[in-house]
Each structure stands twice: as structure tokens, then as C-alpha cells.
């Protein structure tokens, strides 16, 4: 890896590690930002790299959120009683219980959505283009609506996540703890995807994007790759959901867990803003978007969603290649695109 790249990675790593101490007031915000990077990266695996624009990846996020807390609670107490209380919590985890439950919860919050993806993948990934997009949109929202009807997990009221155990530090420690978990998840997701995109798998995804019929005609069993990609995304999304639920402290089916109209769309937007189909695009897009969003909340309070919607339209209409795309146009050499004019104009010669 080139020196510049190593420096870049190093700086980011350092920033990520010390941020909670540099900006203690923004810990939660930066934690969420790392989770947004995960959302956007995993969306891009389908959308940018493979050309399957999913509007329903949020379903894995939501499933992960519910799974994590359900097991976190259910391992030690009666889930039904917890959610019935609707806020009156008479159950308290001990420290050991809390961390045991959280570990199990987080692991399952990755595995269960991955299994779901594997199960429905064969049917859903057989759809293409806008049918896939709208079908996944329907799925994501349907799950939110269904979750609103299930009493065990709190129905429309939702449920609270287990509070931080007493006796081991207070709010500070808690937010630091979750901050590092979020950062770790982001780093792992990024590195994993970076590795994957360099293997043949990544090339297959791109081939599917550019011409799925050709890929099949050349002997590639595309469905295997499509499903595997979705499973990977589902895994990381689920864990992100689990973390988010615990940080917010409260799980609500349609606004927080299966937040189709907000985070579900944001993940698409972030990837496009940053440049879909690239590795860093979704990362940059997520960071920039988050800054915009927080800015809108501060400056346009009351109208922030309107501003956000307008941003979507503006990006989509005027800036669909995203930041990475724009950079690529300006500095093609930096991206390894050697546009030798001679090469481009050369006639084919067969001796």
C-alpha cells in the first residue's frame, strides 16, 4: 500500500480512537456517524457494486435491533412482562447479566438477519431493477408494520432496551463503551468489504451490475453471489441495529427500527452522495451527510426534513456521480485511470 494511503488510514484510525476525548459532547453523534458509515457501505454492496438498488436493507437493521434486545432481556427476564410495562421497568440487569446478554444479543443480531437474507434471497434477488427496488421497499415497511402488531416485542409502543447496570461508571462510561463498539464495527465492516472487493467475488458483483445476462452466459451462477452479498450486508446491518437500539435506549417499530422512510432512504442517499460503487464513496458520503443532517437540525429546526428531501432531489438530479465520481473526473490519474490519449485513439491492428 502506498505511503499516502497508509498515512490516510492511520490518521482516521487515530481520529476515531481519540474522538470521544476530543469531543466529549458529541460522542453519541459520532457513534451514530460510524453506524451510518456501516449502513451506507452495506447498501453499496448491493446498490453500487452489484447494481441492485435496495430500498429495504433497513429490514436487517430493524431485525437486528429487535433480536439483540429481545435476547438481552429474554435471557434473564420475561420479555412479555418487560414490554407490557411499557416503561415501568422493575427488572434490572446485574453487570454480568448485562454484558452476557449484550454479547449474545449482538452476535445473534448479526446472525439472524443473515439467515433471513439467505432464506428470502432466492426469491427476492430474482427480481431486477425497479421491481427489486419497490419490492424491498414494501418488505422493509411491511416488517415495520408487522412489528407494530406483535405484543411480545411491544407492538406500536415499542420497548426500552436494558439500562446500563448500576455500579460501573455512569453515562460517561456507557457512551464511551458504545462509541468504541460502533467504531470497531465500522472498521471491521470497512476492512472486510475492502478485502472482499479485491477478490474475484468483488469482480463478479461488478459483472452482475454491468451485464447480468452476460455473466450468466459466461457460466457464473449469479444467484449464489447475489445471496452471499446480501447475507454479508445483513450481518453487519443487524449488528449496527443492535448497537443503535442500545444507544438510543428505546426501540420503536416504524420510526427507529424499520425506519424505512428515514434511515432506509438515507443509506441510499449517502452512498450516492459519496459515490456509489466505490469503497470510500459510501464512507465519505455518510460522514458528509451526517454533518449536513446535524446542521439542518440546528439551523432549520422544524423544516429539517423538508431540507433533507430537497437535498435528496438535488443530489439525485444534479450530482448522481457523487463526490468520488466528481473527484475521478478531476483527477483521473489518482484513481489509476491512465487515460493515454494515444491508447484511446489507437486503431486496432492485427498483423
Amino acid at each position: 500500500m502506498s505511503r499516502n494511503k497508509l498515512i490516510g488510514y492511520g490518521l482516521l484510525l487515530v481520529f476515531g480512537l481519540v474522538a470521544p476525548f476530543l469531543f466529549p459532547a458529541f460522542k453519541l453523534q459520532i457513534s451514530i456517524m460510524w453506524l451510518l458509515v456501516v449502513l451506507s457501505l452495506t447498501w453499496d454492496t448491493q446498490g453500487g457494486q452489484m447494481g441492485y438498488n435496495s430500498f429495504g436493507n433497513i429490514m436487517f437493521f430493524g431485525i437486528g435491533m429487535y433480536v439483540c434486545s429481545s435476547f438481552h432481556i429474554g435471557m434473564f427476564f420475561s420479555l412479555a412482562e418487560w414490554t407490557e410495562g411499557g416503561g415501568e421497568k422493575t427488572f434490572l440487569h446485574t453487570s454480568l447479566q448485562y454484558f452476557q446478554g449484550l454479547s449474545v444479543g449482538l452476535i445473534l443480531s448479526g446472525i439472524v438477519p443473515a439467515i433471513v437474507a439467505a432464506l428470502i434471497g432466492y426469491g427476492i434477488l430474482g427480481l431486477r431493477g425497479h421491481y427489486f427496488a419497490i419490492c424491498t421497499l414494501g418488505l422493509g415497511i411491511a416488517m415495520g408494520e408487522i412489528a407494530s402488531g406483535i405484543e411480545l416485542i411491544g407492538a406500536g409502543q415499542g420497548m426500552t432496551t436494558p439500562p446500563w447496570p448500576k455500579g460501573i461508571g455512569g453515562v460517561e462510561l456507557r457512551s464511551q463503551f458504545y462509541y468504541y463498539l460502533c467504531f470497531a464495527l465500522m472498521v471491521i465492516t470497512f476492512l472486510f468489504l475492502r478485502w472482499v472487493y479485491q477478490t474475484r467475488f468483488g469482480l463478479v458483483l461488478n459483472a452482475i451490475r454491468d451485464n447480468e445476462d452476460k455473466a450468466e452466459a459466461m457460466g457464473i451462477h449469479t444467484m449464489r453471489y447475489k445471496i452471499t452479498g446480501w447475507v454479508i450486508s445483513a450481518f453487519f446491518l443487524g449488528i449496527a441495529g443492535g448497537l443503535m437500539g442500545n444507544m438510543i435506549g428505546y426501540i420503536e417499530p416504524t420510526e427507529i427500527a424499520f425506519a424505512g422512510a428515514s434511515y432506509g432512504v438515507f443509506m441510499v442517499l449517502m452512498a450516492i452522495l459519496g459515490g456509489k460503487g466505490t469503497l470510500w464513496g459510501p464512507v465519505i458520503g455518510a460522514i458528509v451527510f451526517h454533518i449536513f443532517k446535524e446542521g439542518f437540525w440546528i439551523f432549520f429546526l422544524g423544516w429539517q426534513y423538508v431540507a433533507l428531501g430537497l437535498l435528496i432531489v438535488l443530489i439525485v438530479v444534479f450530482f448522481p456521480e457523487g463526490i468520488m465520481g466528481w473527484l475521478r473526473e478531476k483527477f483521473p490519474e489518482r484513481f489509476g485511470e491512465v487515460i493515454d490519449e494515444a491508447d484511446r485513439k489507437a486503431q486496432v491492428e492485427l498483423e
Binding site: I124, L137, I141, A142, G309, V317
Partner: protein, 281 residues
């Protein structure tokens, strides 16, 4: 009975969506929001003391211009790009509209009272609010007006020509820009009519647009793009299905049932087509 009248309403909205899809290859995710917006126009007429039924005239006129404006501002720039861009763009419009309605109109659930009374049939065993009957009739009337217009008028023919072959139409002198804008406007107007009826018959809320969008999408993909009778039939079928789902599963799961039906239909289609080694285009 409820289901059938509801279905006719859905079919009207679906026809608008099909029109756009066929002519400009745009899938309008904001369709539901346009409907709700049209409904709010009727509501404000009601608040102002005018009977909302006149909304079926006023609303489409206003909505036509809203549609025209939206076309010029946003849609015209995404018409010749790929479908995903147009989906995202209309999604953006849907969010903006939703939030604008929320900020301006507030998030209360409202109704535009029509006070039409109820019709009792069969010894009072069937209760049919007149307003629902009114909705059904108006929907059918407007659908017929639209069909006639598309068949006979110059604009209608221009629209159909552009739908079949935009390049050819252009060469033959059709102003495709105008046609596209008009189509979008007509669609918005249809949504306005539907919205008025919904405001009178059901309830209005800034965030209940998406289910209407999904319903019309479903109807269009079942019925196909050119086929009006099929649209009507599918609409009715959907309406009946929904009433059933409401009855069996309970109202909380009504919306979930609609979305899941969409998923089921698409997956069913996918498997049927894969037998012929094709896929949904």
C-alpha cells in the same frame, strides 16, 4: 361492497401512475403524496365553508398546475435517465411533500365532512354511506372522461403517440416536452380528484401517502400498462382484498397486508417467469 368502491378509487390513482409510466417511463413514488395533497385542498374548501364535493372540480385544476410545476422543476431533468434515478427523485419529492404538508397542515388526522347521510339496503342489513357511493360514481365518471379525452382530443392522441414512440412523435412535430408536462399534470389532477374523494370518505394525514403509491404500483404491474379494464378490475380486486384483510387480520395489519401482497405478487411473478427463463422488465 365497500371493497369494490374502494377499489375503483384505487384504480383511478393507478391509471394516473400507469399513464406516467407508459408515456415517460417514470415511476412516481410521490403518487400517494399527490393524492393526499389533493385531499387537503378539498379539506380547506370544507374549512372555508364550501362543500368539499366541489373539490372534484377545484382540486384537479390546482393539482394540474402542481404537477406541471413539479415536472418542470424536477422530473424533466430525470426523464431520460435510468429508472432508478427517477425513483429516487420522486422519492425525494415524496419526502419533501410529506414534510411540507406536515409542517403546514399539522399532523392531525382530518376529514372533510360531506354529510351525505347513509343508504340503507336490504332491510338495514347493508349500510352504505352515500359518500362512498358518491366516490365510486365520481371515480367511474372521471375514468370515462379521461378515456374519452385520450381517445378524441389532440393532446390525448399526442400523449398516446409519445407513449408508443417518443422519437417518432418528435419527428412528426409533437412537442414532447409539453406532452410530458401535460401527462404529469393530468396524473396530478387525477390524484387531486382521488384525494378529494378520500378526504370525504376516509381520513387525511400527511404520512399516509405511501400505501396509496404502493397500491397503484401493484395494480399497474398486475394489469399492465395499456389496459384500462384490467386496471379497473385489479383495483377492485385489491379493494376487496383489503377489506377482507382488515376484517380477518384487524385494522392494525391492514397496511402490512397491502405491502406484503405486493411482495407476494412480485415473487410469484418472478418464479413464474423464471420457468420461461425470463425476468420482470
Amino acid at each position: 361492497m365497500n371493497g369494490i368502491l374502494l377499489g375503483i378509487l384505487f384504480a383511478l390513482i393507478a391509471y394516473g401512475m400507469a399513464l406516467q409510466w407508459g408515456v415517460m417511463n417514470i415511476i412516481n413514488i410521490a403518487q400517494g403524496e399527490l393524492v393526499i395533497l389533493g385531499g387537503y385542498i378539498a379539506y380547506f374548501m370544507f374549512k372555508a365553508g364550501i362543500h368539499p364535493a366541489f373539490g372534484i372540480i377545484v382540486s384537479p385544476i390546482i393539482m394540474f398546475f402542481v404537477g406541471w410545476f413539479l415536472y418542470k422543476a424536477v422530473i424533466s431533468r430525470v426523464v431520460d435517465r435510468d429508472l432508478f434515478i427517477s425513483i429516487l427523485a420522486t422519492f425525494g419529492i415524496s419526502i419533501v411533500t410529506q414534510q411540507l404538508m406536515n409542517s403546514v397542515f399539522g399532523s392531525d388526522v382530518v376529514v372533510a365532512q360531506s354529510n351525505f347521510g347513509t343508504l340503507m339496503l336490504f332491510d338495514n342489513s347493508v349500510v352504505l354511506p352515500y359518500v362512498k357511493l358518491f366516490s365510486g360514481v365520481v371515480s367511474v365518471v372521471f375514468a370515462l372522461i379521461l378515456i374519452l379525452y385520450m381517445k378524441k382530443s389532440r393532446l390525448g392522441r399526442a400523449i398516446r403517440a409519445t407513449a408508443q414512440n417518443a422519437k417518432a412523435a418528435k419527428i412528426l412535430g409533437v412537442d414532447t416536452e409539453k406532452v410530458y408536462a401535460a401527462t404529469f399534470g393530468i396524473n396530478a389532477a387525477l390524484c387531486g380528484v382521488a384525494g378529494t374523494l378520500i378526504a370525504m370518505t376516509f381520513t387525511l394525514h400527511p404520512y399516509i401517502g405511501l400505501p396509496y403509491t404502493v397500491r397503484s404500483f401493484m395494480i399497474v404491474i398486475i394489469a399492465g400498462l395499456g389496459n384500462l379494464p384490467a386496471v379497473a378490475l385489479s383495483g377492485v380486486g385489491l379493494g376487496v382484498f383489503e377489506e377482507f384483510a382488515d376484517f380477518i387480520l384487524g385494522t392494525e395489519f391492514r397496511i402490512a397486508a397491502v405491502f406484503m401482497l405486493l411482495v407476494v405478487i412480485l415473487v410469484y411473478r418472478r418464479f413464474k417467469l423464471s420457468k420461461k427463463r425470463e425476468y420482470l422488465k
